[in-house]
């Protein structure tokens, strides 16, 4: 399988272990990712807060690049993913706007090439038996609270590939690699997102509640699919110290891929003591 790849701004920096583990896991599964040439930032939480036009035009440029590449585009960040979908929708539905974008960006919109989230590809498309066949080290004893966060599955009219209140794709994926997902009710509650710098006490409150709820549900770790969710949960827990993984890191660990120690060394809450106690590291 071959896809275009839109890494987004966090993959090279605060979410570096998400990028590294994504590369490794996709290579192991013969999912080829070709980085979009000259991609730009989607505007994240800020563009839509200040300027409606920029919020759609910035990701529209990436949609144009993806279309030129001629493949579906894999996006690891839920916010980038949601903004791409929103821009694509407007390109599809708003003729005048489409014409303006086509002129400014020098392309002709044809609707080819969809934006898809990494979890949707690895957890939704791939055959669970094929995944299980790659496992050399089942993640036995790893009781994981699968945390999807806010915009990965919302708004459902844009995303729509998993239940917006009770998604299960990550749970099934991590179960297939031997982990033990717990039932819990906070899968799609927001961590506070971009308020982490400007109103950090709000994010401390929300992220701590999530971590406490995970612990109460019997989890010994959390898995997520978003650079902002991960850094918020990894840095803003008050009274708990629950390791927060990217789902790709756990897949890589189960597949026995090299490099896991480097990924885990990037975490603020070191997950290696937990993994050692379970005989997984």
């Amino acid at each position: 399988m071959k896809y275009s790849y839109y890494p987004g701004c966090t993959i090279g920096t605060t979410a570096v272990e998400y990028g590294l583990s994504t590369d490794a896991v996709c290579a192991a599964l013969d999912v080829e990712l070709i980085e979009l040439e000259d991609w730009n930032c989607c505007g994240a939480s800020s563009a839509h807060s200040l300027n409606h036009e920029l919020a759609l035009a910035l990701p529209a440029r990436n949609v144009a690049l993806a279309q030129a590449a001629g493949l579906d585009t894999v996006i690891p960040c839920p916010a980038c993913y949601q903004h791409s979908l929103a821009a694509d929708k407007r390109l599809r539905e708003d003729e005048n706007w489409r014409a303006e974008m086509e002129q400014l960006l020098g392309f002709q919109y044809n609707g080819q090439g969809r934006s898809r989230h990494l979890l949707e590809i690895l957890g939704g498309d791939l055959d669970k038996d094929a995944l299980a066949a790659k496992v050399t080290q089942p993640l036995k004893g790893l009781k994981v609270a699968c945390y999807y966060g806010c915009v990965l599955v919302r708004p459902p009219e844009l995303t729509g590939w998993d239940d917006p209140e009770h998604p299960m794709v990550m749970d099934r994926l991590l179960e297939a690699v031997g982990a033990e997902p717990v039932d819990w009710s906070w899968k799609v509650d927001c961590c506070g997102a971009s308020l982490t710098l400007s109103r950090s006490e709000v994010v401390v409150e929300l992220s701590s509640k999530l971590a406490e709820a995970a612990q109460e549900a019997g989890a010994n770790c959390i898995a997520c699919a978003c650079g902002i969710c991960q850094i918020n949960l990894d840095t803003r827990q008050k009274d708990t110290q629950i390791p927060v993984f990217y789902f790709t890191e756990l897949m890589g660990l189960a597949f026995g891929l090299p490099g896991t120690d480097k990924w885990f060394g990037k975490h603020m809450i070191d997950p290696r003591p937990l993994l050692k106690s379970l005989g997984l590291a």
Binding site: N40, S49, E53, C190, L197, L206
Partner: protein, 193 residues
């Protein structure tokens, strides 16, 4: 809500229609079940809760809303829009109110929130992508040091190699700049800092 906030002389009769038109959301359908407020992660720090924001729109309380903290504390998580029995998505409504507040020159009461958004957008304009180190430096200036409490964490992130010093500038930055130019500067003027 203060008793003084709702004044008949402050009613802007065209406000609900305008918000509806710009946001694309039918705000008149709200029958105040308050499901949005109950599910909102940041309602507890807002001056007006999400359902109250909708009610104030219906009542034409433009001035009250454009001064509110609520519109800046909505993080756009889409919980309310997903659950609304009348299919009103509040996130685009909140964004519309932010645009109106900026266009009309209201000071943003959440100065740090606004400072971060501005610094972020300036970074994209400069590089085509966000470059954390310079973006955070601008944010520290704009927010008058709001970030200093996180200095320790910032150091740890640098030590772990999670904040890069060298920015990556995209090749065809001119295209991104053209998008900025087309979008106008009217929505990013004003504000609190």
């Amino acid at each position: 809500m203060n008793d003084n906030d709702l004044l008949i002389r402050n009613i802007d009769t065209s406000f609900a229609e305008l918000v509806q038109e710009r946001s694309g959301e039918n705000v008149r359908r709200c029958y105040y079940c308050q499901k949005c407020t109950v599910g909102c992660p940041t309602a507890y720090v807002m001056d007006y809760k999400p359902a109250q924001v909708l009610k104030l729109i219906q009542l034409g309380q433009k001035d009250t809303l454009l001064r509110s903290t609520a519109i800046w504390l909505c993080v756009g998580c889409e919980t309310c829009g997903t659950r609304c029995p009348n299919e009103i998505r509040l996130a685009p409504v909140m964004d519309t109110l932010k645009y109106m507040a900026l266009e009309e020159g209201y000071a943003v009461p959440e100065t740090a929130v606004y400072a971060l958004h501005r610094s972020f957008m300036d970074s994209i304009k400069l590089w085509g992508r966000v470059h954390e180190a310079t973006m955070l430096a601008e944010y520290a200036l704009r927010s008058r040091g709001a970030i200093l409490s996180d200095l320790g964490m910032g150091m740890q992130l640098i030590l772990k190699g999670k904040i890069s010093f060298l920015p990556e500038r995209i090749k065809r930055l001119g295209e991104v700049r053209a998008l900025y130019k087309r979008a106008g500067s009217e929505s990013v003027k004003g504000g609190g800092s």
